[in-house]
Symmetry: C2
Subunit: 433 residues, 2 copies
């Protein structure tokens, strides 16, 4: 792996793995009718900074260029740092041309300034899918949550199979509204922000620290124990959650009812063993407004969280006050998965060719003939271009990790006899075409 200013680049053999990953992911997205879109790599600064500008402003790569007709330098645009804002702007711009609910897949590179660190790059692929709906016309959105989770489940399964990774994963599901109503029912709504950020740390700190953090914001001992009991509970049965929470509040009931519907749909899709309801899943303090989830790799702590989810209500209002779009979506953290694979799994190919036809005959015409013929039958055969010495040709095959060399000498031409040499064992097999 090399890089320019931490914009990373893959070697050909690594790129083969990446191509396979992206292809597997996109084919799976398309199977569930997420249509491909690709947006420009730039956005207007005022669009980019509309969402959480205080977090973003130091993370973007700004552009400037000479507008030649007026000899002025233009400075209104930057490279996009995610695919959410471009998608949002694209939908608003094309709202009359798209059919809603609009399901899109977008696999594209994004660029953001980051301090150099392991597994973090300044340019990387995001692999998003989203379902966006016109919230004025379409109120029945819960099925989208389930369908998108089913798509994630299928996609990850295919991806791990393709990569020969035997990995268990678990989709952890929650609804932000539930967290908020639980906090309210404890009369702690003025501490919502702090409580959420404590809950969000749950996985990183021990139980003592966890308690201490609650104490520090003046939550009562009794309430701390109850809160911890609630937020530490995981199950895939919504009834158990209801019993655990045991709070009589109509609003809370409503959102539990919603979560129940989603989990029912997931059961219909036959994936009930692969998800749990996990009340401490927060996914950012204020961005996302209803269902949230994360996906965890169970048997490999290094990979841990590799897919995340978002949901927005009425977000497009910020750039177009007449629209009322809401959406849910998720992304696989492909860069993390990739770095993991390059560290753990040895890449196996430097090329996708399996055979190398050596160039040994006197006549180039015959060699090309043989090549065209073999290519029709075997597909994955490459031809060494020049009549170089045989050791040079074998060295080429070896360096590219091509498994077999096809050797035909001038005197074997008449009988169309040739040898196939296994480059690992150096065994030779004679073949007659």
């Amino acid at each position: 792996m090399t890089n320019i200013a931490w914009f990373f680049e893959l070697l050909p053999e690594e790129k083969i793995v990446e191509e396979e990953m992206l292809k597997t992911i996109q084919e799976s997205y398309k199977k569930f009718w997420y249509t491909t879109i690709e947006t420009a790599s730039i956005e207007k600064n005022k669009v980019l900074l509309a969402k959480w500008w205080w977090e973003i402003k130091n993370q973007i790569f700004w552009l400037y260029w000479l507008a030649q007709w007026c000899e002025k330098w233009k400075k209104d645009y930057s490279l996009h740092f995610d695919l959410t804002l471009p998608f949002w702007r694209y939908v608003v711009e094309n709202k009359n041309k798209l059919t809603f609910p609009f399901k899109r897949n977008q696999i594209q590179k994004v660029r953001r300034w980051e301090r150099p660190q392991r597994w973090r790059f300044r340019e990387f692929y995001q692999t998003d899918i989203d379902v966006i709906r016109d919230a004025n016309l379409d109120k029945n959105y819960l099925f989208y949550d389930a369908e998108i989770i089913f798509t994630l489940f299928t996609t990850l399964n295919k991806l791990f199979k393709k990569l020969n990774l035997y990995t268990d994963f678990q989709i952890n599901l929650n609804n932000k509204k539930i967290i908020l109503w639980i906090i309210e029912s404890f009369n702690l709504e003025d501490k919502t922000q702090q409580i959420c950020s404590i809950i969000d740390k749950k996985d990183k700190i021990n139980i003592e620290q966890y308690k201490k953090e609650f104490e520090e914001i003046w939550v009562k001992k009794d309430d701390i124990d109850k809160l911890i009991q609630i937020f530490n509970f995981k199950t895939n049965k919504i009834e158990e959650i209801e019993n655990k929470i045991n709070i009589n509040n109509d609003k809370l009931k409503k959102w539990l009812e919603e979560l129940k519907k989603v989990t029912n749909y997931l059961n219909y899709f036959n994936i009930k063993d692969y998800f749990v309801i996990n009340l401490w899943i927060i996914r950012g303090l204020d961005y996302y407004t209803w269902t949230v989830f994360e996906t965890f790799i169970m048997n490999d702590r290094k990979l841990w969280s590799i897919a995340w989810w978002w949901s927005y209500e009425n977000f497009t209002k910020k750039i177009d006050s007449k629209t009322n779009f809401s959406w849910v979506g998720w992304s696989i953290w492909i860069t993390r998965l990739q770095s993991y694979i390059f560290e753990k799994v040895k890449t196996e190919q430097k090329t996708s060719s399996k055979y190398l036809l050596l160039n040994l005959l006197n006549s180039k015409k015959e060699t090309i003939n043989l090549y065209l013929k073999l290519q029709k039958e075997w597909k994955n055969i490459e031809m060494y271009p020049n009549q170089d010495k045989i050791w040079k040709q074998l060295k080429y095959a070896d360096k590219k990790w091509i498994k077999f060399c096809v050797i035909m000498w001038e005197n074997e031409l008449e009988q169309w006899n040739f040898q196939i040499k296994n480059m690992e064992t150096w065994d030779v097999k004679y073949v007659n075409l």
Copy 2:
């Protein structure tokens, strides 16, 4: 088609066409063992400006960003404007890890500032392949020329077939060295630059203007006629060219011999009817140094030139004086082809789904069951997400140009009876699963 500051974006139905095109091209490249690489979208300014900075400097999008640890603004990088320079830098950087001759395919977007005009955008895909060799070790490069032309031929054929375009094309071949030695044999070498730029206009001006331009640079009447005769001649037989030129010069002979070898290889690949030697193909005045070609669409003037070629000798020396790489490559002008298709051919799909399963049953569980079952058998079936009124569901299918709707009512569930409605003719067929 929409755009941000002339960075263009496709609608989903247009993107389907683009995806098909890129996939067809890349699969064909890979079939001939051009390995995929992808380089960073940025390059150091000093690399970008190493090649013809006087042409480039007004065409690039410059970047700046805040290096947070030192609170300084960095301004050393810009977006790449082609794939040649990044490829060149990539090869020099990774020279010990690559196997030469290294055949790469690179399909990636480039960005350059352009005055807005039809079929010219500021962000577009380039679809390059190249064969790069270490010129110190590998002197037998002529086969690469032929192989790359054969790859172009096969790729364009597949692409036109995929797009249902019945289009004849012709590959026009030349060797820059031949042009130069012809000019020298007329003792006009001090006017090489001017003569080349006149020849390059051949296609755009009439014969009178053509002659006049030669007169203006003080070429003798006699020589003008001879030059025009030579440069207007096209054939696919090298002997006819030799007769036509009829100049006894050893260096010229050497390069004609090279061109002959290339055309012989092309004959072995059985494509002799698809190329001609065309002496007026110049392809830029000073960039390219030996074989050059262009590809012309014969029956459609609008498309005309859609693929071009380059060859560089020792180019990498400019950034690394110890290296001596030379290469040949070409690119299909995909944006031009695409714009042509969007104007000429109506896109036929807004989605790749062919069937829409309407959501009409009382139980979501049954609907999902039916959907999973049909998806296994038919593949390209989409499910309408909500139990909306039937007219709303039909409208969705209509707007997305989905051909068939699958209708199953509650009372047909027991017999697994359903109707398939053709959305164009409104015919209904009854099916029993």
